[in-house]
Homo-oligomer: 364 residues x 2
Amino acid sequence: MAETLTDYRLAREIDLKAFVAAALLEVGVAKPDAEIVAEVLVAADLRGIESHGVARLESYYVGRIKNGLLEPTPRVTTVIETPTSLVVDGGNGLGHPTAKRTMEAIMAKAKTSGAAFGGVRNSNHYGIAGYYAMLALDHGLIGVASTNSVRYGAPTYGRDMLLGTNPLAFAVPAKNEPAFVLDFATTTVPRGKLDVYGRKEKNLNPGWAIDEHGVETIDPNVALKGALLPLGGLGIDSGGHKGFGLGLLVDIFCGVLTGGKFGSDLPLLSDGPKPGGISHWFAAFRIDGFRDLERFKADMDTELRAFKDSAKAPGHDRIYVAGEIEHEKTEFNRKNGVPIHVKVWDGLEKMAGTLGIPFAIERT
Amino acid sequence: MAETLTDYRLAREIDLKAFVAAALLEVGVAKPDAEIVAEVLVAADLRGIESHGVARLESYYVGRIKNGLLEPTPRVTTVIETPTSLVVDGGNGLGHPTAKRTMEAIMAKAKTSGAAFGGVRNSNHYGIAGYYAMLALDHGLIGVASTNSVRYGAPTYGRDMLLGTNPLAFAVPAKNEPAFVLDFATTTVPRGKLDVYGRKEKNLNPGWAIDEHGVETIDPNVALKGALLPLGGLGIDSGGHKGFGLGLLVDIFCGVLTGGKFGSDLPLLSDGPKPGGISHWFAAFRIDGFRDLERFKADMDTELRAFKDSAKAPGHDRIYVAGEIEHEKTEFNRKNGVPIHVKVWDGLEKMAGTLGIPFAIERT
């Protein structure tokens, strides 16, 4: 990346959250809901996942509410509930509040019953999947979260955009080591990466994307008219069918299982957002259903350290396990301020003006 | 592959199973256990996954029992049991019988409670993970199975072999379409692929393996002294860290969670098998905890067809969803006979002589 720290301003976490909540309140979102969205978006910025943070506040959330595409005060209903399952209809509301409450309900069921699964249908973009999986960490549970999304990716041997970036997230606690938090898109790269490479006139890597005819391309501008490839890349030789399988699994778990939209009924970027087009899926289970929690956590430290302390490849002095970089960024950003790109900062300030709310984000 | 059908003989399924069971009986395995191993190994050959079929009967199972590395009549014990969990100690026995019985017990718990998880520690190689996930298909359940394995793979930015091929398998039923069965190693390729390319003096693809210093190599003979790369390949640009994360997740679920061996305590190929070094992990949950089973299955047909009927990339006339090729091979091989490579066939015949049992496999 050619971007430097001078492209960023450091915001006070508390101010940033308050601003996000205020903007959402202004377009009619209830305060408890707005606060959850603020928490999830700022969590992404803290973790260094800018693409899923406050940068999306206007285009994904405030703008869609203003355009009538997303219900600010949705009618959220329970579709089915058992001691080990829960499916909620999100009423075409913001993804974050309903996702958080549903995961919390599933966790409560898992605490009582040992294991539980569930999902939300008729919802919208919910930020980072990892946030919901991580809710389980302090409760002696292993958490799993997933969501389907706008379609960007093609199946192996295909060329139609049929798959979202469909992330899967798993969170497993450790004792002294940071928790293991695996949160990944099942496409090789996110679509935003094509935009970035296009702006920089850089070639893509092979295995990232195809053109509109289904032929692999390294030209970002051609790729933007084509489709993303699944994790593993083109064809089956390097495992593209595995990434395709994982992406389809996510669409089955989120869309088909909850009775939500799936497959070719999911939104395409070119169509614009499809109200309630997104579904989420969650699972949680008790670690002490397997073994003593404290001994498990101690062994998790041993496991994670075995990888981190193992021999490094030339040119590398650290091996990171899943979630470690994001954990370190969060600790750093909590202390020093949340880095917000100047363009995003200016966008938030402009949005404040349009909404007629104060822009009171202090720089640290 | 340069191999042709003339390199294969077609065996009667019933004979092949009877032979596998007879060989195991001869080295002291109880009949019900031997029959389960036979079923799982032949299921792999039927599905076209030769590497996990009867080809391994001598080296992985019969030979290890004869060498005292694997208990023919293990003391299998319950470590922990709750209404939604079960952990079993496999007593260093054959993986297949204990894995099958444990998955069946977990499925029974899931039927009663809605969801259940569990595992087996102190076990050995159990064949294809997909077999155990697929047990769920006729019970209105979604099945998940996994196992850790001998170490072949390096973490992202590392060079030590710390990860097995650590497969993950998911089975989801459909109505008229074949079930969705995703069963994949979390390394880019299995180690056997390096052997095959070495014999054929073919270059590997980039992203498959590194040399002993941690540098990517396309020389199969160099790679055989190095390590496999995780799904996604070298480094993080094409998602190698995602495959690494999945492989580590499998080791956590199988090894750490069950109280079994994990990380650097897992066997290395060069050490030879480590008794009881392998652990398995399973999950099952009720589809009707989410929605009506029959409507779900009908929607699964729609979902799978959407992918299969979508536009094809140049040079391809079919898009296969996970499990479809294996389903078609099983149907074909059930009718026409199970293809067994002549070298494997001859090996079985030789083993029959050594064990002093009849070799009565009819060719179809």
